[in-house]
């Protein structure tokens, strides 16, 4: 084999061989599980001695999902969470990217610090904020006390708990939006700015009439994808609130976890997963449509 010259006939074989590992992984652990989920969502699965007993139950699981109060709370909270968190991340990320792009000295230092949250485990971010938010001795309580102010019950009160979780997500993912937007700003054509400078344009006019219009495709795509990815949120909620108080911070990933794993209701959990996957798929289709409109390639 080693001595054989590359002939036309070798191409298809190597084409398949090189893509085989990726195809195999994606089929066995990407496509098959989804089919498995779909099958389980129409059944009840009971385990005894390592063997599964399946019983077909038709649409019963999906009917149960539709009236599940936890799932409803999960969908509502996740939607609120996604919209507010992504809005915050995009606004802050854009301001920081704009400012960093103007800095001459220390840009790399800022960028190194700003990347940190992306590389921290979600569970550690949860742990960090569990300590910071702590009502009795958290850092915020201490700071407020230094100014003679009353502590805030960040995680104990329903509305505040959802706000707190959103703030943590903004802390976690603003750096990611920052990086993408900064890369976008740095790749804008410089001659436009030079021309604007010659014309004596103010920084505000420059922002509104030059930077924002040219950045629009990057902004739209980054926001759309962050919005879809916000549906993955799990780690921080698991550690900070466990979905509580009540159902105030119940998010869909956490509901699936509770139903499927904690309560061992495999059929219901699978039907929920299928429902969430359909929602994410629909959002993704919208995001792709947005990208096509934003960047007619």
């Amino acid at each position: 084999m080693a001595t054989s010259l590359r002939r036309q006939g070798d191409e298809p074989a190597w084409r398949w061989l090189t893509s085989a590992p990726a195809f195999a992984l994606m089929l066995a652990l990407g496509v098959l599980p989804l089919l498995n989920l779909l099958a389980m969502s129409f059944a009840n699965v009971a385990w005894s001695n390592g063997a599964a007993t399946w019983s077909f139950v038709g649409l019963a699981n999906f009917r149960a999902v539709a009236v599940d109060p936890l799932f409803r709370a999960g969908i509502v909270n996740t939607t609120i969470f996604a919209i507010l968190a992504v809005a915050g991340q995009m606004a802050l990320g854009f301001v920081l990217a704009l400012l960093s792009s103007r800095v001459r000295h220390g840009r790399i230092v800022y960028r190194t610090v700003f990347i940190l949250p992306i590389l921290l485990p979600g569970i550690v971010i949860g742990a960090i904020w569990k300590l910071i938010y702590n009502y009795d001795f958290g850092l915020i309580t201490q700071l407020l006390a230094a100014f003679g102010l009353e502590p805030i019950d960040w995680l104990g009160q329903p509305t505040m708990a959802l706000v707190s979780v959103i703030l943590v997500d903004i802390w976690h993912w603003t750096p990611f939006c920052f990086l993408l937007l900064l890369a976008g700003i740095e790749s804008l054509p410089q001659d436009v700015y030079e021309a604007a400078e010659v014309d004596g344009v103010s920084w505000w006019q420059e922002l509104v009439h030059i930077t924002l219009p040219m950045m629009w495709p990057t902004i739209a795509v980054t926001a759309a994808f962050r919005l879809v990815l916000a549906f993955k949120v799990f780690d921080e909620v698991y550690l900070l609130t466990g979905g509580g108080p009540g159902t105030a911070t119940e998010v869909v990933s956490f509901t699936i976890y509770q139903r499927f794993f904690t309560e061992d209701r495999v059929g219901l959990g699978s039907a929920m997963s299928v429902a969430v996957i359909l929602v994410v798929g629909a959002l993704l289709a919208l995001a792709l449509a947005a990208r096509r409109r934003a960047a007619p390639a």
């Binding site: 084999m1 010259l5 590359r6 191409e11 190597w14 084409r15 090189t18 990726a22 195809f23 992984l25 994606m26 652990l29 990407g30 599980p33 989920l37 389980m40 400012l99 960093s100 800095v103 220390g106 990347i115 940190l116 992306i118 590389l119 485990p121 979600g122 569970i123 550690v124 949860g126 742990a127 960090i128 904020w129 300590l131 001795f137 850092l139 309580t141 802390w171 990086l179 993408l180 890369a183 976008g184 990057t218 795509v221 980054t222 994808f225 993955k232 799990f234 780690d235 698991y238 550690l239 869909v252 990933s253 956490f254 699936i256 794993f261 997963s273 969430v276 996957i277 994410v280 993704l284």
Partner: protein, 274 residues
């Protein structure tokens, strides 16, 4: 408004943002060096104390060293598998002359897959692993992480693969290089920086992954994030142990950030710019 004052304002804003990131992180690392009493008393000043760290690392009831070993094995093996499958796959998709619909369909599918909540997949993986006798083994988690990170490996390596000059490949083919020879002698060396950038990110993301690890592991296969979460549960949250174990767990990420900042930025933004 003078240019100088604007520059000061810019730096001031950026410094505040950097502090918002650094102060909570450092404060929590500091909490790992405190006793529970010193932490709860709320005193700002404290005498550093290694009790929580030694409890996390060496006490009988703690599995942290085992968790560390499991995380290391899973992250290394899943990164190796993912990087190999991703690099070969990316080369195949972009450079091996597939009919155009094949890469479109496959890479499009991996993008959809990337967006799915891992918890939704964990249920099916759990059931499948149990059927295959792989439940509660590191092998199951290794394969799960390799699959979870494969879309990212394919996109990132795809970006680096497309930068390999076509003339070079054609020249090698004319000289009679076989596909394996071409890949090993010419493509792989050119991809080295890309492999480093992608490998670092894959390692960190496997190291950090929680949702799937939580559901596919038990006591003796648990990874670090699962171990940290244990301190936050139960009747009494063990705050200082939670802080100490968190501090230990971020060592690899911080080291990689300090050494390979450029690679990480390259990896994180590679897909976005083009």
């Amino acid at each position: 408004m003078s240019v100088r004052r604007a520059a000061i304002g810019t730096h001031a804003t950026l410094i505040v943002a950097a502090l918002v990131i650094l102060v909570p992180t450092v404060w929590v690392i500091g909490a790992g060096f405190r006793t529970q009493i010193s932490l709860i008393s709320g005193a700002i000043a404290f005498k550093p104390n290694l009790a929580s760290f030694s409890q996390v690392l060496w006490s009988r009831g703690s599995d942290f060293v085992l968790n560390f070993r499991n995380s290391f094995v899973v992250a290394i093996l899943s990164t190796a598998i993912c990087l190999a499958a991703g690099t070969l796959g990316a080369w195949s998709m972009h450079r091996m002359g597939w009919p155009r619909w094949v890469p479109h369909l496959f890479l499009g599918w991996t993008m959809v897959f990337q967006m799915l909540p891992p918890v939704a997949l964990a249920g099916a993986w759990f059931t499948m692993a149990r059927g295959a006798g792989l439940d509660d083994t590191l092998a199951g988690l290794v394969l799960a992480h390799a699959t979870l990170n494969l879309p990212m490996a394919l996109w990132l390596m795809g970006n680096f693969v497309r930068d390999v000059p076509r003339e070079l490949v054609e020249a090698a083919c004319i000289d009679g290089a076989s596909t394996p020879m071409l890949l090993r002698r010419i493509v792989l060396p050119l991809l080295a920086p890309g492999l480093a950038a992608t490998g670092v990110l894959l390692f960190v993301f496997s190291w950090n992954e929680f949702a799937v690890a939580l559901n596919l592991t038990s006591k003796h296969t648990a990874t670090i994030p699962v171990g940290i979460a244990k301190y936050a549960q139960g009747f009494e949250v063990q705050y200082t142990q939670m802080a100490a174990s968190s501090a230990l767990s971020i060592i690899p990420a911080v080291l990689l950030l300090l050494i390979g900042q450029r690679y990480i930025v390259k990896g994180l933004t590679a897909g976005a710019v083009k």
